[in-house]
C-alpha cells in the first residue's frame, strides 16, 4: 500500500509536535503519519497546514524540522489546526 493510501500527514523530525497535512483532513478524521495514527483532527485542516500532534500550552513552542518555529498564543488542543490565528513568531523572528 502506498504512503498516499496509508498516511495523510508528514513530519520531518522526531521532535516535531505538529504534522503537515498532505491533503485536506476533516474534523474527526485520523491523522496518520507513516501509516501510524497519531491523533484525531479536532477541526478541518487544509493541505499544507499544521495539525497539533499533542496539546501545546499557551506560550509553548511549536517544533518543526526539530527546531522551534512559532509560539502558541493560547492553549492548543491535540488535533487542532495550528497557524497564525493561535500562534505568533518566536522572539527575535520577524513579526507578521
Amino acid at each position: 500500500m502506498s504512503l498516499a493510501e496509508q498516511s495523510n500527514a508528514v513530519i520531518h523530525h522526531e521532535d516535531d509536535n505538529v504534522a503537515i497535512a498532505v491533503r485536506p483532513v476533516g474534523a474527526g478524521e485520523a491523522v496518520v503519519v507513516k501509516a501510524e495514527e497519531r491523533v484525531r483532527a479536532a477541526e478541518d485542516v487544509d493541505a499544507g497546514h499544521k495539525i497539533a500532534l499533542c496539546s501545546i500550552a499557551s506560550g509553548g513552542m511549536v517544533y518543526r524540522y526539530g527546531e522551534p518555529i512559532i509560539e502558541a498564543t493560547g492553549a492548543i488542543e491535540a488535533g487542532a489546526w495550528v497557524h497564525i490565528h493561535n500562534t505568533k513568531p518566536i522572539p527575535g523572528d520577524v513579526e507578521m
Binding site: 502506498s2 499544507g48 497546514h49 524540522y65 527546531e67 527575535g92 523572528d93 520577524v94 513579526e95 507578521m96
Partner: protein
C-alpha cells in the same frame, strides 16, 4: 564522472553554447530586441539599468553583467551600447577573454538601424560558428548548480526542497559546487547555518550575514517587516519566517558550508556555498548566474514559471496539483513523495539524474517557453 558539455578556455565547462546579445544600458534595448527578432537562436538580453546610478550599484551591475558575458554557457557575445552611458559596452567586452566578444555602440555606428544591421551580420556569423562546435566529455565536478525556490507553498519544505537537498548532496559528493542563496529566506536560521560552517570563521560569517540582513529588513520595513513572507505562503500554511526559512535551507543538503560569497561573485571553493542574494527570484537568479552557475534547480509550490537567459532552470513542483495544472512549465514532480509513495531520497536521485541530462543538452520547460526574465540587484536610487 563526466557529461557531454563544452570545455571553455578558462577551464570552466558549459552546458550550453549560446550567443549572448546584451544591452549594456536600457537605451540599447531596442537594437538588442531587433537583433533577437531576426535571429531567435541568439539569447537576446535587455535590461532596466546601465546608467543613472551611483558607484555601488555600478560595481554590482558591472560584476553581474561581466559574469554573464564570461558565463560558461556563453560561447560568444555581442554587446550593444548607446555611447554616453555609465556602463559602456567596452567595460563589459574588454575584460572577457577566451571567447569572441564584440561590441557595437549605437552613437558611433550610425544610429539604431545601422547598428542593428551591423549587429545582425556579426551575430549570424558567431551563431554559425557556435553551432558547429560539438559536445565533449567534461567533468561533473566543474558544475556549479544554483538552488532557488519561488512561489513556495507549505509543501515546498516537505517535498521539493528536501529532495533538492538530496540532489545537492550528490553533486557535492561528485566534487561539484552547489549555491544556496536568498538571504531573506535564511532569516531565523542563522544559528542552524552557523553549525554547518566548515570552519568556525565561516560559521560566524554566515551568522553575521543573516543577522545583518534581518536587521536591514526590520530597519527598512518596520511594522511591515512581516511582508517578507509573500501572502501566498501564509495561505499555503506557513506561519512564520523561521518556519519558511527552515523549509528553504533544506535545499542546501547536509554537507558543511565551505564559503559565504557576495552577490554575483564566483565561488572559490567547491561544495556547499551560500551567496548573499535577495529573496526576489529574478534578482537572485541573476546573482547566481553571474557567479557561474551553469544550471539551476528551482522549486515551486504555487507555480513559478521563470527561467533565466542562457542558463537552464529545472522547475520542480512541490505538489502534483501544480504539476498537472501547469504541465508545460514543470520539469519534475516532487509531489510524488505524497501521491506515489516515493521517498525524498528517490526523488533527489531523479532530480540529480535529470539535472545531468539537462547539462548534456535536454531542454527544460522554461527553455522551450523562452521564459527568461532578466533583472539584477540595484539598491541605491536613480539619479
Amino acid at each position: 564522472m563526466t557529461f557531454l558539455g563544452y570545455q571553455r578556455e578558462n577551464g570552466t565547462v558549459g552546458v550550453r553554447n549560446h550567443l549572448l546579445v546584451l544591452a549594456s544600458v536600457s537605451c540599447a534595448n531596442g537594437v538588442v530586441e531587433a537583433i533577437g527578432r531576426e535571429l531567435p537562436e541568439a539569447v537576446a538580453v535587455t535590461q532596466g539599468y546601465g546608467c543613472g546610478y551611483g558607484p555601488e550599484d555600478f560595481r554590482v551591475s558591472h560584476r553581474t553583467l561581466t559574469g554573464l558575458v564570461d558565463h560558461p554557457n556563453v560561447g560568444a557575445a555581442l554587446i550593444i551600447g548607446l555611447g554616453c552611458e555609465l556602463m559602456k559596452a567596452e567595460f563589459l567586452s574588454r575584460e572577457v577573454e577566451g571567447k569572441p566578444v564584440e561590441a557595437l555602440v549605437i552613437q558611433e555606428s550610425g544610429g539604431s538601424q545601422a547598428t542593428t544591421e551591423k549587429g545582425l551580420a556579426i551575430a549570424r556569423k558567431l551563431q554559425q560558428e557556435l553551432e558547429a562546435v560539438e559536445r565533449a566529455a567534461v567533468p561533473v565536478s566543474e558544475l556549479t548548480v544554483g538552488l532557488q525556490c519561488g512561489g513556495s507553498d507549505a509543501l515546498s519544505g516537505v517535498t521539493a526542497n528536501p529532495a533538492v537537498g538530496a540532489a545537492a548532496d550528490r553533486f557535492v559528493g561528485a566534487g561539484a559546487t552547489v549555491v544556496l542563496a536568498e538571504t531573506t529566506e535564511m532569516i531565523g536560521t542563522a544559528h542552524i547555518l552557523k553549525r554547518r560552517g566548515a570552519t568556525s570563521e565561516i560559521g560566524e560569517q554566515v551568522e553575521r550575514l543573516v543577522n545583518e540582513h534581518h536587521a536591514h529588513v526590520v530597519a527598512q520595513l518596520g511594522d511591515l517587516a512581516g511582508m517578507v513572507i509573500a501572502p501566498g505562503n501564509v495561505e499555503g500554511g506557513l506561519s512564520s519566517i523561521t518556519e519558511k526559512s527552515l523549509g528553504a535551507i533544506t535545499k542546501g543538503g547536509t554537507t558543511p558550508l565551505q564559503e559565504v560569497i557576495e552577490y554575483g561573485a564566483r565561488p572559490s571553493k567547491r561544495g556547499f556555498v551560500i551567496m548573499d542574494t535577495p529573496g526576489y527570484d529574478i534578482d537572485s537568479m541573476a546573482g547566481i548566474a553571474a557567479g557561474g552557475a551553469q544550471l539551476m534547480l528551482f522549486t515551486t509550490g504555487r507555480g513559478s514559471v521563470a527561467g533565466f537567459p542562457a542558463v537552464p532552470v529545472v522547475k520542480i513542483s512541490s505538489n502534483s496539483r501544480i504539476f498537472e495544472k501547469m504541465p508545460g512549465d514543470m520539469d519534475l514532480n516532487a509531489g510524488a513523495v505524497i501521491d506515489e509513495g516515493k521517498t525524498i531520497d528517490e526523488v533527489g536521485q531523479e532530480i540529480y539524474d535529470l539535472a545531468l541530462e539537462v547539462a548534456a543538452g535536454r531542454h527544460t520547460c522554461a527553455e522551450r517557453n523562452r521564459s527568461a526574465p532578466f533583472n539584477y540587484l540595484k539598491q541605491g536610487p536613480s539619479f
